[in-house]
Symmetry: C2
Subunit: 409 residues, 2 copies
């Protein structure tokens, strides 16, 4: 791919770095002290931040990129990489992981200030990411189009098998029984809703505000003869009506925003059967409140916020006295999922470059690699929070059944 990058520039041919340039590089290197890297300017001048042989070299293409990196590193790294003004020689994920680990040492929990999100905001945000075209996502997701963390029940299983295992893991945690009803908030391309109906005999009402995803999901329902048992509704969580035996949301909470968590809690409370309703929230989270990387927010996931458990539980569950029965952290599963996606993405980079452009390819490569690095570095978590009604004594005695049942049983 590097050959196709059109915009990688160097300072005027032959122009060496100045004393000021080197001082800037020194400052940047100091903030990455201990990272397994070498930082290099356009004229070859470089500084190693590693104590051993660096795993990768970050090449900074010009002076203005250097200055921007010093001023706003979190935003500019992505901007410069996408534009080809910054290159990573060596393994990209490893380079990003060592950066994440190094920067995490000095990060502290933050006071996150984000405004409320209206459904119009959400539609805009969701459209920007999920409506890039089903053809694009088909190139690198699994066959069922699952764009959330898989569950590698066995370490070496394929992405396809791990995505099916994830669906079953979620369904078992929800203790779905034939004939029950399920409400799903944010259903992607419909794989979970269709799986629940097909394999567990439930009736599903699934909500989504991505037009492309809804069209695909409805087509799949028709093709699989499940249209009578799975309804795909054009609306976000605020549109949910009626009650169901179970509520599930996989990969939506990240888009809700902390200011809307109380609303979400009320929606869940109103949607759940009063006696035996139970639910599951599957979301990318954090060990502590932190704002999302500004470049990811600008270029990849507008409006997104991966929350800590402490941000989610009080407004969403505690305010409604819903009872947490189980929380699992699957962050290494997401790292492996992203590894699969990134490999497939890179295999189709030329095709994707033709569908969009090189900047898009580099943006998405950095986003996928950076996400994998964040999960490997413990900077991001993947939480599955299972909950139920406080009076309900019907839960299984232990979690052993999650590890005994045959898939789809």
């Amino acid at each position: 791919m590097r050959a196709r990058t059109t915009s990688f520039t160097t300072e005027r041919a032959g122009a060496g770095s100045t004393f000021v340039d080197r001082w800037c590089l020194e400052r940047i290197a100091r903030s990455l002290d201990g990272a397994d890297l070498r930082l290099q300017l356009w004229d070859g001048h470089s500084i190693a931040t590693a104590r051993t042989a660096p795993a990768a070299t970050i090449r900074i293409g010009d002076r203005s990129t250097l200055f921007s990196l010093l001023m706003r590193p979190e935003l500019e790294f992505g901007e410069a990489y996408a534009a080809g003004r910054l290159e990573v020689d060596g393994p990209l994920v490893a380079a990003l992981e060592t950066i994440a680990r190094t920067l995490a040492r000095s990060r502290r929990p933050e006071r996150v200030r984000l405004g409320p999100t209206t459904e119009t905001d959400s539609r805009h945000n969701v459209h920007a990411h999920y409506d890039l075209g089903n053809e694009f996502y088909r190139l690198w997701l699994d066959e069922a189009m699952l764009y959330t963390c898989a569950y590698f029940e066995a370490p070496d299983m394929s992405l396809e098998a791990a995505q099916r295992a994830k669906l079953d893991h979620v369904c078992r945690k929800l203790r779905l029984q034939p004939g029950e009803t399920v409400i799903e908030a944010g259903c992607g391309w419909g794989a979970l809703a269709l799986h629940m109906a097909r394999e567990y005999g439930v009736t599903v009402r699934a909500y989504n505000i991505s037009a492309n995803q809804l069209a695909y999901a409805r087509e799949q329902a028709a093709r699989q003869g499940l249209s009578d048992r799975v309804t795909f509704v054009d609306g976000d969580y605020r549109s949910i009506t009626g009650r169901a035996d179970a509520f599930v949301s996989v990969g939506m909470l990240e888009h809700v925003g902390p200011r809307n968590y109380e609303d979400l809690g009320r929606v869940i409370d109103q949607a759940l059967d009063r006696d035996h309703g139970r639910g599951l929230l599957h979301f990318i989270g954090r060990n502590a409140p932190m704002t999302l990387n500004p470049w990811i927010r600008r270029r990849v996931f507008p409006g997104a916020h991966p929350p800590s458990l402490g941000e989610v539980l009080p407004p969403v569950l505690e305010a409604r006295q819903l009872s947490v029965t189980d929380i699992e952290n699957l962050r290494l599963h997401y790292a492996r999922t992203l590894d699969h996606w990134l490999q497939r993405f890179d295999r189709h980079a030329d095709a994707i470059g033709s569908m969009f452009d090189d900047v898009f390819v580099r943006t998405w490569r950095l986003y996928l690699a950076g996400s994998q690095a964040a999960f490997l570095a413990g900077d991001m978590q993947l939480f599955q929070v299972t909950f139920g009604r406080r009076f309900d004594n019907g839960q299984p005695w232990t979690r052993r059944d999650l590890y005994e049942a045959a898939p789809g049983a």
Copy 2:
């Protein structure tokens, strides 16, 4: 036992209830509307709050008890029951469970305001409960003197087996390896510390501020030939020094108090190995912040506060960027544990009455029965929170190993 109750009184023989008395009873009955009960005054006048045949009758022995119950029901119920001014005819746990379920309908999450607790306060509080005499506890706890929720791996296992299963469940969650070191905060009579050293080959430093428990634990260590690998230290969590591979605390957090959670988080952070340290907090909790029943705080557990996850996670773990890997809610296991304890307690009620007095017997019976009812009614939870260092990628791929390993393996 009822025959030995000395203080059960009735209003002056023959004195009937007045209009005001009946109005008071009506008010109390309204607050318990729907509970499966009959409320009865000293002269036989009664009101059923149940829609069907009541499971139990609560008999109120005199006017002053009636008035106190109306004014401060949460405190006075226990006071009157302990003194024999109030009787429950019928199954005690079922009566308390229906009360808990009914009152929970109108309870909302509260702003809990509790002051900080010094080590001197803690010593006083702990002494008041845990130093009642090892002879007393030996009468109704299991052979290993475990005074925390057991884990009924199989539904019909004995209390002894379930307590051993709990120890193994905790040890497996901690992934203990032979030769590792463990710090335990609040070790009771030492059963977990001794089990970890004996069955998992680790070295343990266990902290406690109950003199009776420490003496017993040290004697057990000597008897089992484990004194070289288990050190029992007279001090609370604030006395912890040094680092270890694992930190564990079973049934102590309830006594720490929210104002001290940040301190506890700092202690845990400083005690844990920087690279692969992991920990487990096992505690009685709530679905939402609530103050503990005032009678329990006055007569049974001074200074205690069972917290919600939202109260615990931010100050204890998130502030230190410790990563939650697993949370399990074992509330029904605690209900069953209490059922065993209560049965044993009642079998030894005469002996306990001789050691103390009838008020003590009735106080403890109500506390044990009320706790069982609270877990059955979903009013109390039992959380096991497992956590680790954010950079540590050494955790098992799934939780399957928790359900496969042979006990003590």
